[in-house]
Symmetry: C2
Subunit: 485 residues, 2 copies
Amino acid sequence: MYAVIMAGGSGTRFWPLSREKMPKQLLKIGSDDTLIQLTVERVLPLVKREHVFIVTNHGLAVDIGTQLISRFGGSWDRNFILEPEAKNTAPALALSALHLNRIDPDGIMVVLSADHAIRNVEAFRTCVTTAAKAAERDYLVTLGIKPNRPETGYGYIKAGEPCPEAGLDGVSRVERFVEKPDLQTAQGYLQSGQYYWNSGMFVWKVRTFLKEIERHMPSLHEGLEQVRKSIGSGTETEAVRSMFAQLQPVSVDYGIMEKTDRAAVVPADIGWSDVGSWTALEEVTDKDAAGNIITGNVIDIDSTDSVIYADKRLVATIGLKDTIVVDTPDATLVCSRDRAQDVKKVVDELKKRKAEERLTHRTVHRPWGNYTILEEGDRYKIKRLVVIPGSKLSHQLHHHRSEHWVVVSGTARVTNGDKEYDVHTNESTYIPMSTKHRLENPGKVPLQIIEVQNGEYLEEDDIVRFDDDYKRHEKAKSPLPELPK
Amino acid sequence: MYAVIMAGGSGTRFWPLSREKMPKQLLKIGSDDTLIQLTVERVLPLVKREHVFIVTNHGLAVDIGTQLISRFGGSWDRNFILEPEAKNTAPALALSALHLNRIDPDGIMVVLSADHAIRNVEAFRTCVTTAAKAAERDYLVTLGIKPNRPETGYGYIKAGEPCPEAGLDGVSRVERFVEKPDLQTAQGYLQSGQYYWNSGMFVWKVRTFLKEIERHMPSLHEGLEQVRKSIGSGTETEAVRSMFAQLQPVSVDYGIMEKTDRAAVVPADIGWSDVGSWTALEEVTDKDAAGNIITGNVIDIDSTDSVIYADKRLVATIGLKDTIVVDTPDATLVCSRDRAQDVKKVVDELKKRKAEERLTHRTVHRPWGNYTILEEGDRYKIKRLVVIPGSKLSHQLHHHRSEHWVVVSGTARVTNGDKEYDVHTNESTYIPMSTKHRLENPGKVPLQIIEVQNGEYLEEDDIVRFDDDYKRHEKAKSPLPELPK
């Protein structure tokens, strides 16, 4: 059994906690682990680690890899399948199936989302096991979530006849997929007991899925063939890029599931949530007696039925009702509960303004630790860097800025041009412009440095990397990982 | 004519914009000038600058002085009367009257609040002029604000018979002062046309006021006598301290105005607001078409009847109604409009927690410029300092911290132990612990420095001052200013 975890999403509806470069799957929501960590953990008892594949883009792969290493250890380099651009789920899953086909054409491919929450993990695993049995019989199986409310935000699946084959108790053929309904229709669906939410989790045999692509999505099939031929020739990166460039974005639901005559559904009562907006937080977190979910440095007086999310900054709330307050170091959202879907409009506005608050947080995590932007001014920028013991940043230079480093805790090993020396707590050093330099933490405690940058251009892309433990100086990786040994 | 501006208040109801050390009178509310600047400006055509006295405490006097210098130039050293502790208005005004009595016993004393807003400045000046005529006839005159709503948050004055003396058209005797009414009573007051809000603005002759103190507040009179005898003996600071220590807090309304038979009222239709809470903002600022008052870096979608106050940090609001959002660098308030008075409860809670967010802002203004705390961590603190051209900080040392200074713009003249040298943009220097040092901006553009402090104790009070342009190293100033020449 193989897991393919879709992790390319750049969800905007959890802004300002989520950002384009820190999407929901990288966040801790209702747990001490991030959603991607939880997704991998959930599937590991069913699927060997080397059979877990994460489909995402190059930028997110580094961050996801860092989270998986910190949670599960080891290297996850061979677990990534890289989309050159986002073209919805069908192309990404087709590329994944092509890779799995090289390993095991009869393998069962379990498709999961990286940014959903599932409270009942045991029930989830049972559903996947049941679905896998149907997949063996060449069904394309979807996990259908038992609705507990007349939700108008999801598509529904209508279950039909039970699958006739022996050993497939509880699996039904799909009668039809239906679009997001209006409230009255949704109430009818809820009462009928025949309708399930389309969760976007699928289980099928690799070979079956590829055949259905050939039948229903000929241009996608043609693209896959070109990629298949390129493998081993050194041109596969270009072939995948070219395939994605030519394709229209299509979901696997629309492209395959609604067209195949082999769709089946396994009802799943697993405490699922797509965590699709701030109001969905109550599906993954318990409320207090007043109906609030309150996190962080909050002083609340008499609020009810509200979500108040703070971090270290103080948030004081008085007498709120049905209100969402989300505070982050550089942006605060205050939103009426029934308008949570409109957070997207704020993100659209930020996009228009080219505002940084859409893209990144003040604190950015890196494989070697993290940095926080403390202040930006005219010709200067101030950062706090935290370097994990034993880690080092890339050997680099900047054309447009010099850097003052003041060590406030730990010991820094600094390469500065031709010299290498240690800088201790309460000492400082200076890196002139265009000088090759490297920062390392040779010690046993985290190294904290205050970096004052001076120059005419202070963006992250003024960096030339010469050597990097995390291979960020190399050209784009191959979209398909090496085959497991 | 003399102005006595009461500026000792530490209003909590404008938190988080106001702080204990940055009370409302120091804030810009609905104007580009601060409330204290506006209060002084408003009275200057009536009162000579050297006859304007600010009654406040020692800590606030520096900040108020800085604001007055920056707005009106020159020195304001001789304009301050310092309360050793807050004992409500009667003791503070008695002390002020004692001082004025030395200059001009027959002078007219105009008592104003430093933190009120008045939209119609001309009408205000006319009222004061009218009131001064009555004060000449030994009335104790209060400016009674014409109510425009059945406000339950203020005390009221009931006007009685017109003053019979010639030239006092429009001035009435006060029939009685009444406490804050309930809503029904307030509606009656509003309809009757005989009631006015008690604004806390008074006009009286110095001699008259002192006589009334002698008659109605004998212990206050006794305290004043002790202070009077001490003047010139070098013990006046101690005498004032002792006087205040022995007194109960009493308002001049309760102690004098409600008891005197010489109270009169001048009706004032002057666009007055005590700016008593965030909801009062609409009395000093225009609302937009949706009934909102929106300031700063805000993206709003469809909010109505709300106050949204941001600075540089981004605040996004969606679909709010009757909500107050106030964002500052270290604290955010979100409050239902009808609960604006409960901001005080948040401040009380902060007091319990000994939280810094009650006392000061991240940016603190100083006579030489300002500093902003960018980050505080274990054994380190990072500040940005801005020094005005030509200004210098005090000559000082710290017992518990060393300081790294990186100049990010301008040029610094640094005294470091026995050495003096200049540090230019993109250069740095290091001040070891217990080393006497001084920072000066000898240039023509603002000097910006990033200061990284290292040490075991990083509070502001670890400072030994040896010399200071702003005399902050001297013992507490005399509570009474030198007499004008």
